[in-house]
Symmetry: C2
Subunit: 192 residues, 2 copies
């Protein structure tokens, strides 16, 4: 593969997706995020919401249930993982692009010339941002963040055996709250 891929892992609410889109636009390459979910949905037959919810965040809802389900054969999540794995590998084979989330960093680790990025920000910054972007919910923004962070970390550990958020798994990690979303996009572009 000679394509160059930027993978962006991010904490919920840190603006990682916005950064990915901006980098891709500037570089004139596609950015896969919701498009990826769309592709996985159409190949798997599951709804996009199911993939977003169950698919990204939790292996079987709870770790324990995933483990016990597994005794009876592969779970839905295992099935989704395989499709996701294939779609991401194919994308990287086809063209240079930005891929947001979905463990693309791990999936492509030995397959493509990747720039692996992690975007994070403080609880305060993200709380304010998710209310602005996604609106108010019944749960407090802090509770929503804690919940999503926990699920993403668990999902990551389950399928990749990588420690979520450990700097050593990425080429560059940026605090979007302190540095600003535009500056982050600028640096990633520059490193590409």
């Amino acid at each position: 593969m000679k394509n160059r891929v930027i993978t962006i892992s991010r904490e919920f609410g840190s603006g990682g997706r916005t950064i990915g889109k901006s980098v891709a636009t500037q570089l004139g390459i596609p950015c896969y995020d919701s498009e990826l979910i769309h592709k996985i949905a159409s190949e798997s037959g599951f709804t996009e919401n199911y993939i977003k919810d169950a698919g990204e965040y939790a292996p079987g809802g709870f770790l324990t249930s995933a483990l016990s389900n597994r005794a009876f054969g592969p779970t839905n999540e295992d099935y989704l993982w395989k499709i996701q794995y294939k779609i991401i590998t194919d994308l990287a084979e086809k063209e240079s692009c930005v891929i947001v989330g979905r463990c693309a960093d791990y999936i492509l680790r030995e397959k493509a010339d990747c720039l692996r990025v992690f975007i994070h920000a403080s609880m305060e910054y993200r709380s304010e941002r998710i209310v602005k972007v996604y609106g108010e919910r019944e749960e407090s923004p802090e509770q929503r963040l804690r919940d999503k962070d926990k699920r993403r970390a668990a999902y990551h550990r389950f399928y990749t055996d990588m420690k979520w958020g450990d700097a050593r798994n990425y080429h560059v990690c940026l605090d979007s709250g302190e540095l600003g979303i535009e500056k982050c996009a600028e640096i990633i572009q520059q490193l590409y």
Copy 2:
């Protein structure tokens, strides 16, 4: 405090010190690294080698001995920590500067306008580099790296309660092996 301080934490052999020096030269501000050890030595009465070895890496050599010593009052390391704490706080009060290592990120966390940086690199890159920079030793370079990494992480956890290498503790984390030492210096300068 209105000074701006760049703190650089780094894995042994990643070139973090070289990056710090380069950034400081470009920005025309001082860089404290061995100068810091010199200052701590002259205030504490310990030799520079003692501070480098026992001081930076291990709380009492082993965690257990540190804990049991502590039952009889503060250890040498606690005494060094206090001096180090004061020297770093004073430096940040006096002028804008770059400080390499010695938990300056933690010490200044609520005291100064800091850009917190973490530099890391793969085992292969660092192994090659430490042999070039520090020469061969009896132990293999991999063994030396594993040992130093473990000690730095333990020291950090002991005095700061921060997870060493967790991206969320820093504003920017860079892989110097993949990005190159010059590029890392350039990005830090740009973010300052």
